[in-house]
């Protein structure tokens, strides 16, 4: 079992690692991102668009659905998927021009995670490469300075970061802050947070 997981590229390995963070809030939210779909068949008793008159979706209707739903409908041959706007050619051109400046946050806060999820479904092998090169460029431009550079909270370069990029930045910042706090001093015998919750001597 362990061995098959270690090779990682087997279908089993991929499937299990995908469910491995079932309770992860970011993984859940990433699947809320919308995917444009076209219905292959009509669906009665369904109202996708609140302004629609009838409670049904016509065959050939173009709708945007959250990823988790679009994926299941796609696997059952009920819809066809197209590439979400945040991965289209326009966005890619902008990223190529100046990756660090592109406001990925407003386009899709879960840009990388969503990209990894959508790529296999739309069968676009270039998405994976694009994600790597985007990350590589933005990482170099913005993120590597996170330990020593103090950005103002409303700084422009931070405002364009995706959720994961912010987490990375925050990881560096808070680790450095903890170190500085230790360096400056203060109470030398600080209780570890786990130690603080001491059992009350009720017995």
């Amino acid at each position: 079992m362990e061995n098959s997981r270690e090779t990682g590229s087997t279908n089993d390995g991929a499937a299990s690692s995908q469910n491995a963070n079932y309770y992860d809030i970011d993984d859940i939210l990433a699947e809320e991102e919308l995917v444009p779909v076209v219905f292959y068949k009509s669906a009665n008793g369904v109202k996708v668009d609140p302004t629609a008159e009838k409670d049904c979706v016509e065959k050939g209707a173009k709708v945007e659905l959250p990823f988790w739903l679009a994926q299941e409908l796609y696997l059952r041959q009920a819809v066809s998927l197209s590439i979400p706007t945040c991965f289209n050619q326009n966005t890619r051109r902008e990223i190529q021009a100046d990756a660090a400046c592109v406001d990925l946050k407003s386009r899709c806060p879960y840009f990388y995670e969503f990209g990894c999820k959508i790529a296999p479904l739309v069968g676009d092998r270039t998405i994976g490469k694009m994600l790597l090169s985007t990350f590589q460029m933005r990482y170099k431009e913005i993120l590597t300075k996170a330990h020593t550079t103090v950005y103002a909270p409303a700084s422009k370069s931070l405002a364009v970061l995706t959720k994961e990029e912010i987490s990375l930045h925050e990881a560096a910042r808070s680790s450095m802050a903890a170190f500085k706090k230790w360096r400056i001093g203060g109470p030398r015998f600080q209780r570890a947070s786990v130690l603080g919750r001491k059992r009350k001597p009720t017995e």
Binding site: E6, G8, S16, N19, N21, Y22, Y23, V194
Partner: protein, 220 residues
């Protein structure tokens, strides 16, 4: 632990290191660091923990004797400090394991090789954790769901596998040092081996070095 430092390196340091490596405190420290840094649960150090417990108990008795025999308070307090430090290490080691067990109880329990890494008390702990968690989930949510969705481990009855069980992320990176003077690790077939000397720190993909932990490398 102590590293040489240019030409000012202390002679005899290596001898001392070998000596230090034999103390259980040093071994416990290494075990704690490895356990803390590894994403998954590691093999429980049965013998080491047993020895550490015995030494701690012995030291507790000794300190008590010292106090009663009216030994110099300075010496007693130094022994007490040594005792406190050893206890801190042992407790930290046991505690970090409990935290992992709580986090991945379902996953650890269903996997034989992982379950065998636990001590007997840890097995009892996990079993009880699972019972409590199942009971809690059933009472608060699952009993209110339709019949097909009442499993604590599977999303629905047609799931082919446990698809609701959180697993540790093995595709993560850990920082490690060579536990010997020099080590050469073959990580991935295509890449050249990773060679590390004593003073080198490497961030390595956990799953490719996990079998080397405690043998060739230690996590830092």
């Amino acid at each position: 632990m102590a590293d040489d430092f240019g030409e000012g390196s202390t002679a005899g340091m290596d001898d001392y290191e070998t000596l230090m490596a034999t103390t259980d405190v040093e071994l416990l420290k290494t075990a704690l660091r490895n356990e803390k840094a590894a994403p998954e649960i590691l093999q429980f150090q049965v013998q080491l923990v047993k020895r550490a417990r015995e030494q701690i108990q012995l030291m507790e008795e000794t300190v008590e004797e010292f106090e009663q025999s009216g030994m110099d308070p300075l010496t007693v307090s130094l022994y007490q400090m040594d005792l406190d430090r050893a206890q801190f290490l042992l407790r930290s080691y046991l505690r970090i394991r409990l935290q992992k067990l709580e986090k991945y109880m379902f996953y650890i329990w269903k996997n034989d090789s992982l379950r065998n890494r636990l001590s007997e008390p840890e097995k009892i702990f996990v079993k009880r954790c699972i019972d409590d968690m199942e009971k809690h989930l059933e009472e608060t949510v699952l009993s209110k769901l339709p019949d097909n969705y009442q499993s604590t481990r599977r999303q629905s009855i047609i799931s082919e596998e446990d698809d609701m069980v959180p697993e540790p992320q093995l595709d993560t990176f850990v920082a490690c040092k060579s536990s010997n003077r020099f080590v050469s690790l073959r990580l991935v077939d295509s890449e050249r081996p990773l060679e590390m000397q004593r003073h080198d720190v490497s961030f390595v993909l956990y799953k490719v070095i996990k079998d080397k932990i405690g043998v060739d490398v230690d996590l830092v």
